[in-house]
């Protein structure tokens, strides 16, 4: 925890520093700040407020169209327009959001694998990915990471390669050939010099790792091979040992199966990885922990906290939809992400998450596992207060949303019969 906090503080400091630097450097930015302050003053004067994105827009457009002297008019017009465009109370924004995300689902592709960005890496996209996101799956079906590098690692291919070697999981079988001698019950490992050099692994390291396996001994022979002898000779043990050796991790991080280094314009070297291990990768030297991303939502939640997980859900869901050419307003996705994360944990949309934790018995019973919910309600003496939508429909009453939430009644004078 403590470590994380300090890291976060560092980010803030850095951000501030860079901002300050930029301010001094460009007078244009300065002018923007001035305009911004002016707008804020106008807003104060009229006791109104505007979202920052609008303020920014006004600043930009005012500078572009040279309307600085009409700023107040501009701001007032913006306020009017903004207030017109605000969402109205009692709007069933939840249902609209659910529909807006669900409806395009029918138009999405089902193909699990698609080549995205980096042609060499398979990523789950389309509907399966979207379902994965709302399910809050603990591990995505195709985990991957975009690992950005910092400082010199960005520009120097050798350094980038080094980072990549530290990240990619290398097994013994990847860098050597194995021979099993059944007569003497020994295994001979012949390291592949070329591969080892490429992966930057020394023979001592291999020996160190072999030492960690119990019940076998490894000895370096003169010809550069390693001879493995068993403590308790036997065919079964030999087989077990060879399996253990094959999968022996020599270097890298668990879960990272493959890495690809690519040079991106305006960025330098970036590492793309198949498999994800967010926690560990962030610790690797040379990795820029502020920009590195993964598609594993749960690991982001574990390492960076619930706010990060929320943002992650939003970006992942949005990108998934956009990639399919489906335009969905960000606000709908935000609402889904917020529902999933309001209680401080990442909850799935479905019976094991949000829907299962609803207070209303009837609503839960109407969704899934009907009988169990009813029985439990009986034992615990639960009370349904009929505040939600499903309950009121079941009971046959108007729903507490939209026009149904207005409690205004007009009395009509009675017509007298002729």
């Amino acid at each position: 925890m403590a470590k994380r906090k300090t890291k976060k503080n560092e980010v803030k400091k850095k951000d501030k520093e860079t901002k300050k630097e930029k301010k001094v450097a460009t007078p244009k930015k300065d002018k923007k700040m001035l305009l911004e302050e002016k707008i804020l003053k106008i807003l104060d004067k009229h006791k109104k407020s505007l979202p920052y994105s609008i303020v920014e827009d006004i600043v930009n457009i005012a500078m572009e169209k040279k309307l600085e002297n009409k700023l107040e008019k501009l701001v007032l017009a913006a306020i009017e327009e903004y207030e017109n465009n605000c969402i109205e109370p009692a709007e069933a924004c939840g249902i609209v959001a659910a529909q807006s995300i669900g409806e395009p689902g029918t138009q999405m592709t089902m193909r699990t694998f698609h080549y995205a960005g980096v042609a060499e890496i398979n990523v789950t996209l389309g509907l399966p990915r979207l379902i994965e996101i709302v399910d809050a799956r603990s591990v995505p079906s195709t985990p991957m990471m975009n690992i950005y590098l910092e400082g010199a690692y960005r520009v120097d291919p050798d350094l980038a390669e080094k980072v990549a070697n530290n990240i990619e999981m290398t097994k013994l079988i990847d860098i050597s050939d194995m021979e099993i001698d059944l007569t003497n019950l020994t295994i001979t490992i012949k390291p592949n010099e070329k591969m080892m050099k490429r992966k930057d692994i020394k023979i001592e390291e291999i020996l160190d790792h072999i030492k960690k396996i119990r019940k076998i001994k490894g000895e370096l022979q003169d010809d550069g091979t390693i001879k493995i002898t068993l403590d308790e000779p036997g065919y079964k043990n030999l087989l077990n040992a060879s399996e253990a050796l094959k999968n022996l991790k020599i270097k890298g991080i668990d879960g990272i199966e493959r890495v690809i280094i690519r040079k991106e314009p305006n960025e330098g070297y970036v590492i793309y990885s198949e498999g994800s291990n967010f926690e560990e990768v962030l610790k690797v030297e040379g990795v820029d922990p502020y920009r590195t991303t993964t598609n594993d939502i749960q690991s982001v939640y574990r390492t960076l906290g619930i706010e990060a997980a929320r943002n992650m859900i939003i970006t992942e869901a949005y990108n998934t939809l956009m990639e399919q050419g489906l335009n969905v307003d960000l606000r709908h996705i935000m609402l889904v992400a917020d529902i999933m994360t309001t209680d401080g944990t990442v909850r799935a949309i479905g019976r094991h998450g949000v829907s299962g934790e609803k207070t209303s018995v009837l609503s839960r019973a109407a969704f899934e596992i009907t009988v169990n919910h009813l029985l439990r309600a009986g034992v615990r003496g639960e009370v349904d207060t009929l505040k939600g939508v499903a309950e009121n429909i079941i009971v046959g009453q108007p729903v507490n949303l939209g026009t149904g939430s207005v409690k205004l009644v007009m009395s009509v004078p009675n017509f007298k019969k002729k």
């Binding site: 979202p51 994105s53 169209k65 008019k73 501009l74 017009a77 903004y82 605000c86 969402i87 709007e91 924004c93 939840g94 249902i95 609209v96 659910a98 995300i101 669900g102 409806e103 689902g105 029918t106 999405m108 694998f113 698609h114 509907l127 399966p128 890495v259 690809i260 335009n327 969905v328 307003d329 606000r331 709908h332 935000m334 609402l335 889904v336 917020d338 529902i339 309001t342 949309i349 949000v354 829907s355 209303s360 009837l362 019973a365 009988v371 009813l374 009986g378 615990r380 009370v383 349904d384 505040k387 939600g388 939508v389 429909i393 079941i394 949303l401 939430s405 017509f415 019969k417 002729k418």
Partner: protein, 885 residues
């Protein structure tokens, strides 16, 4: 109006005492009816339990059967020996594991109990479920062998699914369990997640079984006069029969073994009566072998009570029929067949102001003959004389009594008038995936038997006319009508809340028509131009007339401009933009840069991006600046204009449209030949091991990827060559370029080359061992052997190509089928999770418990439907406003 409101619903367990108290009669005989067909007293169909035959009176409440009569009453069966309720087995197990058999207390020391008590309080305060705590308690108790209070050695409790409990391997009878559970004091129950105020654990072992009223399990009389009983009745007969035998045997002092067997049989019947899908026991079956539908099955699942009858309800005043297009209707109208209009009614309250009008209408009867020149006039089907009581007061109007009833019409009655033009109805097409799937339309009563709708409303409903059916609902109250008109009318939904853009707009021929009308400087002879303008009822001045060779012409662009509001200015790149490297903007050679100035189309062609559904920029701007009603009119007119234009220009696609000159054919063939050679050389390199593997890929994968790339490029090349010879004189090209329908890819497949067929994103590699079809050699990796179709649709596919093409096609079909179910379920979950969320008066987003989900909706409080493609404000509009001031 609601007179009574249900405030809340409490759930409790029924105690044996309660069951007996609410019981109207004890049920002891397994028979239902006697020989004369009358219900047997104290039988399952006892008239104390309510009645189902019309005319009979219930012996408990004295009311008749029917809608407002006797609701039915419960009876009870006294069980000879107690049995376990399957639904509560889990709770019973927890109770037994966590408590002492001797003293009934929880097997934990006072300190531990105090600790857990505090934990429970903390959890409840935080609003969390205490289920995990109970799990911990039970686990901890399981490890306690000796009761800390009475020092009894408690054994290990095992549960033999579904209903048998054992202590240290010794079977516990339900009586023993019940005795044990009775001992547990109320204070200890909350540690087991049982609320002692409403439930006692011993009630989970049944001693008396409630018998549901006959209204719940009505028997059906078949045509042969034979009675067919409900599944529940069948099951209850079993229960009573075994119960009786058990009692007799026990009382007669039969051997223990026989009694126990019968007891277990009773347990089986009660278990299946409650849930016939309990795992571990065979489901009880009907004589025919069909499993019985007992209590749990009635509630559960999609066809269960909850989802099928409570969450969704059947309604009156609705109609369903096939839909068909009618471009002459406005987008907010719906054509209703006369037959439907005669059946559906609108209630009208008689007032001094409308009494004469209604009287006239009643006099006409239910099937009035319209006057000359009119196709339909509404009649009246019913009148309700005393609206307050509603009962028995509904008078059906017939030809005979019409005049009579009309005379007696009084103020305050309700007349159920037939549908007429201008009524507001709701129109819906399933699946109702978004709110635009149900919109309010105005009725136009028309002859023939289909619902008619404007083509522009097809996208929101996702409707086509290949046999689609749609539903229509007539709203019945003034409030509902007002809401429908204000909130649900079609024009209110032109802008979708999904992305803040128009979802209703021109489609297909509308776009082609406008394209033809406005492309470059297309001009129309004045007669044709006036014909087009007359289609939209244009009454203003004629646009600029150009004279050429003594003939008068009007520019298509000028005709289109007639529709535009005078203050509209917009500039954008059209759909047909070629994305040239150097954009010459206003002087675009393809006329793809649209400039509209003060309501005049100066440059550019109108296509999908201007007026199309989902994309129409002109449409979007008009609605934002002039409101939805103006927008509706614009869509109506623009579509009519498009259709008239396409009618005049003529538009047809035939097989010879896909003809390309022989030299093009030759070029394509050469290109394909080259591609095949390239593939062969790749394969050769692979076989020799000279192929360089891509990083992180095996050689095979690399080869496949390379070949896929080559075949993809080959198809593109063929399409490119083909499209060079297909110009805008080709109707199919016009459709593709304007975005009306189809794409250039479709065209290139028709005239160039169909391209690589794929299954699961790979070239086809299934079929026989080592090859796809016996036409090829084993291990052949070449283009043809793996599903490359080098023919065009026009030319026709070879047999092998045809086969591969079907494989690709089949995958697509399967994909769609799987996708609909998967995305449907995802949407159901999303809706269920989010349905209760609403914006409160303080603009926060909350759930019904009052928990804040968002402090400001969407971080800026802007309604996505009103947003400008996601942007909170329309900055251009503001600039215009400020600049002009």
């Amino acid at each position: 109006m609601i007179t009574k409101k249900i405030g809340r619903i409490e759930f409790t367990l029924l105690s044996p005492k309660e069951i007996r108290e609410m019981s109207a009669t004890k049920v002891i005989t397994a028979d239902t009816y006697d020989d004369d067909g009358f219900p047997i007293n104290m039988g399952l169909m006892d008239t104390h339990l309510g009645v189902i035959e019309p005319g009979l009176r219930c012996k408990t409440c004295g009311l008749r059967a029917g809608k407002d009569g006797c609701p039915g009453h419960f009876g009870h069966i006294d069980l000879a020996m107690p049995v376990v309720h399957v639904g509560f087995v889990k709770y019973i197990r927890n109770c037994l594991r966590a408590t002492c058999r001797e003293c009934g207390r929880i097997l934990l020391s006072d300190e531990r109990l105090e600790f857990y008590k505090k934990e429970i309080e903390r959890f409840e305060k935080e609003g969390r479920s205490i289920a995990p705590l109970v799990k911990d308690i039970v686990k901890e108790c399981e490890n306690v062998s000796k009761c800390p209070r009475c020092k009894r050695e408690n054994g290990k409790i095992d549960l033999d699914k579904p209903t048998t409990f054992r202590e240290n391997g010794k079977k516990l009878t339900p009586s023993e369990i019940r005795e044990w559970l009775e001992k547990i004091p109320d204070e200890d129950l909350k540690f087991l997640n049982i609320n002692p105020k409403v439930a006692r654990p011993e009630w989970m072992v049944l001693t008396v079984l409630p018998v549901p009223p006959v209204t719940v399990r009505p028997s059906v009389t078949l045509e042969s006069g034979e009675r067919s009983e409900d599944d529940l009745t069948h099951k209850l007969v079993d229960v009573i029969r075994i119960n009786q035998r058990l009692q007799e045997n026990r009382d007669a002092g039969a051997p223990q073994l026989i009694v126990e067997d019968l007891w277990e049989l009773l347990q089986y019947h009660v278990t299946t009566y409650l849930d016939n899908q309990t795992s571990g026991i065979p489901p009880a079956r009907h004589r025919s072998g069909r499993p019985l539908k007992t209590l749990a099955q009635r509630l559960k699942g999609k066809e269960g009570r909850f989802r099928s009858n409570l969450s969704g309800k059947r309604v009156n005043f609705s109609a369903r029929t096939v839909i068909s297009p009618d471009p002459n209707l406005s987008i907010n109208e719906v054509g209703v067949p006369i037959e439907v209009a005669r059946e559906l009614t609108v209630p009208v309250r008689v007032t001094p102001y409308n009494i004469e009008w209604l009287r006239e209408m009643i006099k006409r009867g239910p099937n009035p003959k319209p006057p000359e020149g009119v196709k339909y006039i509404p009649g009246v089907n019913y009148i309700i004389r005393d609206p307050k009581t509603l009962k028995q007061r509904r008078i059906k109007i017939t030809e005979k009594n019409a005049a009579d009833v009309a005379e007696r019409l009084e103020v305050g009655m309700i007349v159920e008038r037939q549908l007429m033009d201008g009524d507001i109805v709701l129109f819906n097409r399933q699946p109702s995936l978004h709110r635009m799937s149900m919109m309010a339309h105005k009725v136009r009563v028309l002859p023939y038997k289909t619902f008619r709708l404007n083509l522009s409303v097809c996208p929101p409903y996702n409707a086509d006319f290949d046999g689609d059916e749609m539903n229509l609902h007539v709203v019945q109250s003034e409030e509902a009508r007002a809401e429908a008109e204000i909130l649900m009318k079609v024009q209110e939904h032109i802008l979708s809340p999904r992305f803040g853009g128009p979802i209703i707009g021109g489609i297909h021929d509308h776009i082609s028509g406008c394209f033809l009308l406005t492309y470059k400087d297309k001009k129309f002879p004045i007669q044709e131009a006036t014909h087009i303008l007359s289609a939209i009822n244009y009454r203003g001045k004629l646009p600029n007339i150009i004279e050429e060779n003594g003939k008068k012409y009007i520019l298509g662009k000028d005709i289109f401009s007639v529709l535009l509001p005078k203050d509209l200015s917009i500039e954008y790149k059209a759909k047909s933009c070629f994305n040239c490297e150097v954009c010459t903007a206003p002087n675009c050679p393809h006329d793809a840069y649209v400039i509209i100035e003060k309501g005049v189309l100066k440059k550019g062609v109108i296509d999908e991006k201007g007026i199309g559904a989902f994309k129409g920029l002109i449409l979007d701007k008009i609605i934002r600046e002039h409101g939805v009603d103006y927008g509706r009119e614009f869509i109506d007119k623009v579509t009519k204009l498009g259709i008239t234009a396409i009618n005049i220009c003529g538009f047809t696609v035939g097989i010879d449209d896909e003809d390309i000159p022989p030299e093009a054919r030759r070029q394509i063939e050469e290109g394909l030949e080259k591609a095949k050679k390239k593939i062969n050389s790749l394969i050769k390199a692979y076989n020799k091991g000279e192929l360089e593997a891509l990083p992180g890929r095996s050689l095979e994968e690399t080869l496949e990827m390379e070949i896929m790339r080559v075949t993809g490029r080959a198809r593109d090349m063929a399409g490119e060559i083909a499209s060079r010879y297909l110009g805008l004189d080709n109707s199919a090209v016009i459709m593709a370029k304007s975005g009306a329908r189809g794409s250039m890819l479709n065209l290139s497949q028709m005239s160039g080359c169909v391209g690589q067929q794929a299954v699961r994103g790979e070239r086809i590699n299934r079929g026989y061992r080592g090859r796809t079809l016996p036409h090829f050699k084993k291990g052949d990796l070449g283009a043809e052997a793996k599903g490359f179709v080098s023919s065009s649709y026009k030319k026709g596919l070879t047999p092998t190509e045809y086969f591969f093409h079907s494989m690709g096609g089949r995958e697509g079909l399967v994909d769609t089928a799987v996708r609909t179910s998967r995305s449907g379920y995802m949407q159901r979950r999303l809706i269920n999770a989010l349905e209760d969320i609403k914006i409160e008066e303080d603009c926060t987003v909350r759930d019904p418990e009052g928990n804040v989900i968002q402090f400001v909706y969407g971080e800026d409080g802007v309604d996505p439907a009103k947003s400008i493609a996601g942007k909170p404000i329309y900055i251009d509009k503001i600039i215009e406003k400020v600049e002009s001031s």
